[in-house]
Symmetry: C2
Subunit: 140 residues, 2 copies
């Protein structure tokens, strides 16, 4: 786990990690949220409503990895997510996809101890599946 | 599970549900995301860094309930989340908190089959803990 303090972070800094999305994770997410929508488990329904090859993973499951990016990598231990803007689900994610989640610091707001992080998630085909902008409070 | 089609939804329509945040859910979220940040399990650390009474629940765990709101309630079965703006974590959420998650339709974009939903999550003290704006595609 990274332990960057506010003053150690520089604009342009980038951190990232890989994570495979699995059916087991989808089941955990469903149990946790009670979101039993068939788009996320019924392959035939997903094909019927959206012409998807199989059921589509929960968008908010991919988005949950924003928590890991902030809490473990950028800045890591001394972080508190303030807000998230512009979460855009650009392409569907499927179980078996290997995501790479990366964040780049685009600005710092001294006094507030806030960093702005532009996030991009890509899949194993190097296609962007999710983008977002996070504001994260970091301990001085 | 609600099954509203696009044309059945009206501006001003509101749907909501209650959900208790539990330590078990926090453990599921940690296992799913690998976000092992001590703010979310170590009461002493949470007190030390933020003067919190106990460990703070993951913001993205509360935000995961946006998936349930769209996928089960508003509009329910025939939904696909397009994007989420302005997720604001307004107050900390703790294990044991009972959240009420409500969404109100503020606009419809005919042709795109998009509804705009303003979301508010309140706790058992009727304090707002999270707000967000969702754009959701709905089948015609």
């Amino acid at each position: 786990m990274n332990e960057y303090l506010y003053q150690e972070i520089v604009v342009g800094q980038e951190e990232g990690f890989s994570k495979e999305i699995t059916v087991e994770m989808e089941n955990l997410f469903r149990n946790m949220t009670d979101d039993c929508n068939p788009l996320h488990w019924d392959d035939a329904f997903a094909k019927d409503v959206g012409n998807f090859d199989s059921h589509v993973s929960f968008g908010m499951l991919s988005a949950s990895l924003l928590s890991t990016l902030a809490g473990v990598y950028l800045p890591g231990k001394y972080s508190l997510i303030h807000s998230i803007d512009n979460i855009s689900f650009r392409k569907p994610v499927f179980a078996g996809d290997l995501l790479y989640i990366s964040g780049t610091v685009t600005d710092k707001q001294d006094g507030l101890n806030l960093i702005l992080v532009k996030v991009k998630m890509t899949n194993q085909h190097n296609k962007t599946v999710l983008t977002a902008d996070m504001k994260i409070l970091v301990k001085k």
